[in-house]
């Protein structure tokens, strides 16, 4: 298997799906002539032309709504937000229209649309541009929310999202775009199913559930813990709504403890949802309270040292694992 970057995996997914299905098109700010703000759509304009790779004005509410309308009449739009922070001006379109039209039309009208773009903190983009948006969108019935951690999952899940007949919120990461990882060779098609978690690392002592940028923090922490004799089992949910807890429950039955590590704030969100489900579904197997490691409960500071403190750190992951393992 070859190794490619996360951003290339996403581009391949869009390219393959646009080749496969003429109704798929990409729309957003700087997706065409600029080749994408983060170069995810590089080369797509040349290949598919301005009819299918559409540069928009800086008007998220407008082009999100146009995309939803296009989806309602049979197209399969991919709407790129330059970052998910800008989706807030399109919030009403996503929540009130994309997520509601199918149920409110009694199933008559479907909205097969993908909203995608980088999510979470980048580096020193400060309080207004560092949001981890999963809690906002996972709260909405009618939306699918995917947050892939690896290039392979990014490609396989974006392909599945484009083929889905439902509105999908697809959360990428600016700091993940350059991450390299194994992806099936060209010509080998892999669709990663929506709503299935993945065992990322096997271990018998402590379960860690993580996704997105902290996934890599967790994998590094797991290496260090392994050197101390604590073997962590890491599970990546990949899809945050619908949430698949089956692997997590099986793992907790084995390890009897679990730490959930995520970038979003601690109040609510998928992190809290996972803890809630595990305490019910694995109650009799828990030897310690479930713990979470998240961003600190503050608006993101601009200063780099403070940003590094706010985001989940290896040390905090290691401390939490030791606490639930009753190791000092």
């Amino acid at each position: 298997m070859r190794e490619i970057r996360y951003r290339d995996a996403l581009r391949e997914a869009m390219l393959e799906e646009m080749e496969r299905d003429e109704s798929v098109f990409l729309m957003g700010e700087e997706v065409g002539h600029y080749q994408g703000a983060y170069k995810v759509s590089e080369g797509l304009l040349d290949k598919f032309g301005e009819r299918r790779v559409i540069d928009t004005p800086i008007a998220e509410g407008g082009f999100a709504g146009v995309g939803i309308g296009a989806a309602m009449v049979g197209l399969r739009p991919i709407i790129e937000f330059m970052t998910w922070n800008f989706s807030f001006v399109a919030f009403d379109q996503i929540i009130s229209n994309a997520a509601k039209i199918h149920p409110m039309s009694a199933g008559a009208v479907r909205v097969p649309i993908v909203f995608r773009g980088p999510n979470g903190a980048a580096k020193q983009v400060a309080a207004q541009h560092s949001h981890s948006c999963a809690p906002f969108y996972t709260n909405i019935p009618g939306l699918y929310v995917i947050q892939p951690s690896t290039p392979r999952d990014a490609k396989g899940l974006l392909k599945s999202a484009i083929r889905s007949d439902n509105p999908v919120v697809f959360l990428e990461g600016e700091t993940l775009y350059g991450v390299k990882g194994e992806v099936p060779d060209e010509g080998v098609e892999e669709l990663v199913p929506i709503g299935e978690s993945r065992l990322a690392r096997a271990g018998g002592h402590c379960t860690i559930v993580s996704w997105g940028r902290p996934y890599y923090t967790v994998m590094a922490a797991a290496e260090k813990l392994s050197a101390e004799g604590i073997e962590c089992e890491v599970i990546d949910p990949r899809t945050l709504r619908p949430l698949d807890t089956s692997l997590m429950v099986e793992s907790v039955k084995k390890t009897n403890r679990c730490v959930v590590v995520h970038e979003h704030w601690p109040y609510g969100g998928p992190g809290a949802e996972i803890v809630d489900r595990l305490q019910r579904e694995a109650f009799d197997y828990l030897d310690a309270p479930l713990e979470r490691v998240s961003s600190l409960d503050v608006p993101m500071p601009y200063a780099l040292n403070l940003e590094d403190t706010v985001l989940p750190t290896e040390d905090r992951v290691i401390d939490a694992v030791k606490r639930v393992s009753y190791v000092k």
Binding site: N256, W265, P266, Y267, A272, F283, D284, Y285, L286, D287, A288, E291, R292, V293, S294, S295, L296, D297, T309, P312, T313, D315, R316, D319, A320, R323, Y326, K328
Partner: protein, 423 residues
């Protein structure tokens, strides 16, 4: 003036008592004879009533503690009175005594855990805050354990009160259960190793039974007399009585009739109704029959007073009431002391005969077996018979063989012709 209240001796044989529950709390007004607490003794759960009037200023011993009589448990005085001297006095006494004297409730209460709001759960400074607190068991008596530990304890029949917890606040966690069941417990199934015994603390009733029965068997020279009787007449009499009683909803059991017959026989052979008191022999002028009642984790012996003078229906009622009380641990000491003769019945388990241990200072105990349906020879014919075996254990210091045998013969003849009791 405030005074220290010690744990009262609530029964003549009480060597220790467990403070099951305080019924007053600090600050409550107390009148003479007000219920202060419930105390479990070797015999029953007893009421601990106040001899003083005032305000309960301080509870010195939390619920669940087991103590010897006279150990300070509370301070009663006037509202607002300074009790620092008394507290010091209690502290110095307990320091000089063994470590088993408990600290005061407030001192041994666990330090309140810092509330961990979800947002602070992941804050870096909270790492040190939520680090394991001093590992002391909480005074509440509640066993702290993880859900997994509770599941394992259920599966392995482990009493968690006997397991020491190594987690925060003494929480019992998986590793405590693993090490409790032996270092290789996890591999035990696979390697076929044997599990060590399950260790359970003996209850105070259990220890009383152990002490008294050991004392009896070691100091009382037992010998045993077994006799086989035709139980058909008594059994038929019982049926007739129950038919008569049917309207009232009451019933008498064969055991009630046996109590009555034994009581009547004791009147006819009074030498058996006696006690060896070292330099004297006491011949009892009342016939009070102790009846062994099995209860959870032990047995009790409520006493039917003047059984010789009571009707069988009355005996039946008393036995039923006292057995019920015994099972609920509500028997008062006076309801189970000073019997003069005991009866123990294991017939319901199919036991044909057995030898019981004498309940001192009584001199004899009658062990009752099951009814056997078997052929008997009557004249020249073999006929169906209903038989029962009785074994009396006798204290040879009081009852010689011939005396005991005389009792058994009289007992047999009364059982076989119950009407003679009317003589």
């Amino acid at each position: 003036m405030a005074k220290i209240i010690g744990l009262p001796k609530l029964s003549p044989t009480m060597e220790e008592g467990t403070l099951v529950a305080w019924t007053k709390k600090e600050g409550d007004e107390v009148e003479v004879d007000d219920l202060l607490a419930e105390v479990e003794t070797d015999k029953a759960t007893m009421e601990f009533r106040s001899f003083d009037r005032g305000v309960l200023l301080k509870i010195l011993v939390p619920q669940g503690e087991t103590l010897e009589p006279d150990v300070p448990v509370a301070i009663i005085g006037k509202a607002g009175e300074d009790i620092s001297d008394l507290l010091e006095q209690v502290a110095s006494k307990s320091a000089s005594k063994s470590a088993s004297v408990p600290e005061s409730a407030s001192e041994s209460a666990p330090a309140p855990e810092s509330a961990s709001a979800p947002e602070s759960a992941s804050a870096p400074e909270s790492a040190s805050e939520s680090a394991p607190a001093p590992e002391s068991a909480p005074a509440s008596g509640r066993v702290l354990s993880s859900p997994l530990v509770r599941k394992l304890a259920r599966e392995r029949s482990i009493d968690l009160r006997t397991v020491e917890g190594s987690g925060p606040q003494g929480r019992i966690v998986k590793r405590d259960i693993e090490s409790y069941a032996g270092p290789s417990a996890a591999a035990a199934g696979a390697e076929g190793e044997r599990l060590p015994p399950r260790v359970v603390k003996a209850s105070s009733m259990r220890r009383t039974i152990a002490r008294r029965l050991t004392e009896s068997k070691q100091t009382v020279p037992h010998y045993y007399l077994t006799i086989d009787v035709d139980i058909a007449p008594l059994s038929d009499a019982r049926s007739a009585m129950n038919a008569q009683l049917e309207a009232s909803g009451e019933k008498v059991s064969l055991n009630d009739l046996i109590i009555k017959v034994a009581a009547a026989t004791l009147r006819r052979v009074p030498e058996v109704n006696a006690s060896w008191m070292e330099k004297e022999i006491h011949y009892h002028q009342v016939v009070d029959i102790s009846v062994a009642v099995a209860v959870d984790d032990g047995l009790m012996t409520p006493v039917i007073r003047d059984a010789d003078r009571k009707g069988v229906a009355e005996i039946a009622r008393e036995v039923r009431d006292l057995a019920e009380k015994a099972r609920n641990r509500k028997l008062q000491p006076e309801e189970m002391s000073n019997g003069t003769f005991s009866i123990s019945n294991l017939g319901m388990f199919g036991i044909e005969e057995f030898s019981a241990v004498i309940n001192p200072p009584e001199a004899a105990i009658l062990a009752v077996g099951t009814i056997r349906n078997e052929p008997i020879v009557e004249g020249d014919a073999i006929v169906p018979g209903r038989r029962m075996r009785f074994t009396m254990s006798c204290d040879h210091r009081v009852i010689d063989g011939a005396t005991g045998a005389k009792f058994m013969a009289a007992f047999k003849s009364t059982i076989e012709s119950p009407l003679t009791m009317l003589l």
